[in-house]
Amino acid sequence: MRRADIACALVLLFLGGLVLWESLKLKIGWGLNGPEAGFFPFWLATGLVVCSAVIAIKAFLDRSSFARWPFVQKGAWVPVIKVALPAFVMVALTEAIGLYPAALIYLAVYMRWIGRHRWITTFLVSVLLPVVSYFIFDKWFLIPMPKGYWTWISGLY
């Protein structure tokens, strides 16, 4: 937990520094219309840098039992990755083939691979859910979901 705490604080420190750099370029002083664009972000970033430095130092000095806890219990990474990875793949697929087909593949793969559901349940859920949501969003509320680059797929529905 301690290493993760320090790492996270350092990432925040870096981001804060990045924002500081950008806001300095925008000018932080007093312009024609009062404070310039960089004024507010500059002070926010200063605050973030100070806070993350304090967090990092505190975590570095922390010898409590909380600090010695592992960030993730042994073996608990597996289910997290199993959920996160397919979700990322679905988002990537959405860019290519559209949200509904991507969701169909995602649901089917997930239910079959991780849930070990029977083919018939897998098939029913993974087909029904995207179809129902297609009618709700695209047809009823007229909010078109992403169709992807390959239009011949979205042309099918």
Partner: protein, 497 residues
């Protein structure tokens, strides 16, 4: 009584068949959202926000607020039957609710929870009805310095009363404000913090942030903990309801205490959770048989539920009067207001009375519909949690993706949602509070323009924040709250760790 006439007008709006229908849909969806792991009030409202773009604003806010009530009711179901608090403020409900369910008195516990939620809400709604116009009237005099003062007070309350690590709370507030600053600068029209990329020009959308942080992040956490759902069956019959109702009347003191604690704590940001614990603590202290607490005391269900629901309602009070949300869910609703083209703040009462009073009246109707629906359909809602995880999780991720896409019709937002999901997961594990970050992201532009306007008014002198008595008090109070976590260990003579 001007308020009374306005309330009647509100009821005319809220009781129209269309709005009643919307309210019922909202309650049902909200309860489902409250029951599902990984979906809570805040991201439920966020996901459904795009749907409301096609509705008139009053119906839209009725839908969203009813989802909120439904989620509050839903939290009680999971706490009692499954020992899983759907929301942080239903943690206290599990202490006695789940033991009761295990003893086969689940029906009673649920009835007690719903009735007390209803009572707490009703109490707070009456307060809102009478105080909202007064507060709005008073705050009409507020200028930019006063508004900045209120915002500072809101955020310093997180630092001072949040209970978490102060530097982490502050860091999370700063991150929220920085994300809000990304994109077009509202005053000068310059592009900021885009690092030369087109993607960052639009800035970060709070809806996407909420869905990612609360939805995806929560799912990752749930999976990691390997939560097993072992539910207890419970049926609510008319006999249980009438019997419990008769039994409940003897606990009227617990009801009133909980409602007062909840209404008071709810006005402050993040107040619902401490309110529910406080109310539980008080109920135990003043009970005739405190030893029963923890083993299935019906009072132990009444106290936190009354307080949590009262706090949930009164969190909307600062939102509609001052434009400052008291909870992440209220923050999302406030964002909705801006998207529908309404300017949140005291002027809302003058400019859009039908909106404000329609909302207040719908709090009455929504909670009546809510208590009836949950009492009737408990088994149905409980059955949702019995769905296998391999069906639930991907479906929730899919729904979250739809919600984040629909805000701006951009697939980049789905990527952001996943990114926010990872951030939410890491932050939760490392004890960074997420609620202040979301509030900062929603309020960022307002806070910044209040600050810059104030400084323009005073030509750069910070003395303007002490020029009027109201802002002087607000700024001083928030400064005190900010330093409180740093000085309180010394006051208690512990001198830090």
């Amino acid at each position: 009584m001007e308020a009374f006439g306005n309330l009647l007008m509100g009821f005319q709006i809220a009781l129209s068949p269309y709005n009643l229908f919307i309210a019922t849909i909202g309650i049902i969806l909200g309860t489902i959202i409250g029951v599902l792991p990984g979906l809570g009030g805040a991201n439920g409202v966020a996901i459904l926000l795009p749907i409301t773009f096609v509705m008139p604003p009053t119906s839209a806010i009725i839908l969203l607020s009813c989802i909120y009530w439904g989620a509050l009711f839903g939290g009680a179901i999971t706490s009692i039957l499954f020992n899983i608090p759907g929301e942080p403020w239903s943690v206290a409900t599990t202490f006695d609710g789940h033991p009761l369910a295990k003893q086969g008195r689940g029906g009673e516990a649920l009835t007690a929870a719903f009735i007390s939620s209803f009572f707490g809400a009703a109490f707070a709604i009456i307060l809102v009805t009478f105080f909202a116009p007064l507060i709005a009237e008073f705050s009409l005099k507020f200028g930019p310095p006063e508004f900045l003062g209120i915002q500072m007070l809101t955020f310093s309350a997180f630092v001072g009363l949040g209970g978490g690590s102060a530097p982490k709370t502050l860091a999370s507030i700063f991150i929220g404000f920085i994300m809000a600053a990304v994109g077009l600068d509202i005053v000068s029209g310059q592009l900021r913090l885009t690092f030369g990329t087109v993607e960052l020009m639009r800035g970060f959308n709070f809806v996407v942030a909420v869905i990612g942080l609360f939805g995806i992040g929560e799912i990752l956490l749930t999976v990691e903990e390997g939560l097993e759902l072992k539910g207890v069956q419970a049926r609510v019959t008319l006999r249980t309801v009438t019997r419990t109702l008769r039994e409940l009347s003897q606990y009227w003191k617990t009801f009133i205490r909980g409602a007062i604690i909840g209404s008071w704590m709810g006005i402050k940001p993040g107040g619902a959770t401490p309110a529910s614990f406080m109310s539980y603590g008080f109920a135990k202290k003043f009970s005739k048989n405190p030893e029963k607490f923890g083993n299935g005391a019906i009072e132990g269900v009444i106290a936190p539920e009354t307080a949590a629901h009262a706090a949930g309602v009164s969190a909307l009070l600062p939102m509609i009067t001052l434009g400052i949300p008291g909870s992440p869910t209220a923050a999302v609703m406030l964002g909705g207001l801006m998207i529908w083209g309404l300017q949140p703040g005291p002027m809302l009462f003058k400019e859009k009375p039908e909106f404000v009073w329609g909302l207040i009246a719908s709090m009455y109707t929504g909670n009546v519909i809510g208590v009836l629906i949950v009492l009737l359909f408990v088994p149905f809602f409980a059955a949702i949690l019995r769905l296998p995880f391999a069906v639930l999780f991907p479906s929730i991720v899919y729904v979250c993706a739809i919600g984040s896409f629909a805000v701006n019709n951009s697939t980049t937002d789905i990527w952001y949602m996943m990114l926010f999901g990872i951030v939410g997961y890491v932050f939760k594990k490392l004890d960074y509070p997420i609620a202040p970050m979301v509030l900062a992201l929603v309020l960022g532009d307002m806070a910044e323009s209040a600050l810059r306007q104030s400084l323009i008014m005073s030509q750069g002198s910070p003395a303007i924040f002490f020029a009027s008595p109201i802002s002087a008090v607000l700024v001083t109070a928030s400064a005190l709250l900010m330093v409180w976590p740093f000085i309180s260990p010394f006051l208690h003579g512990r001198g830090g760790k």
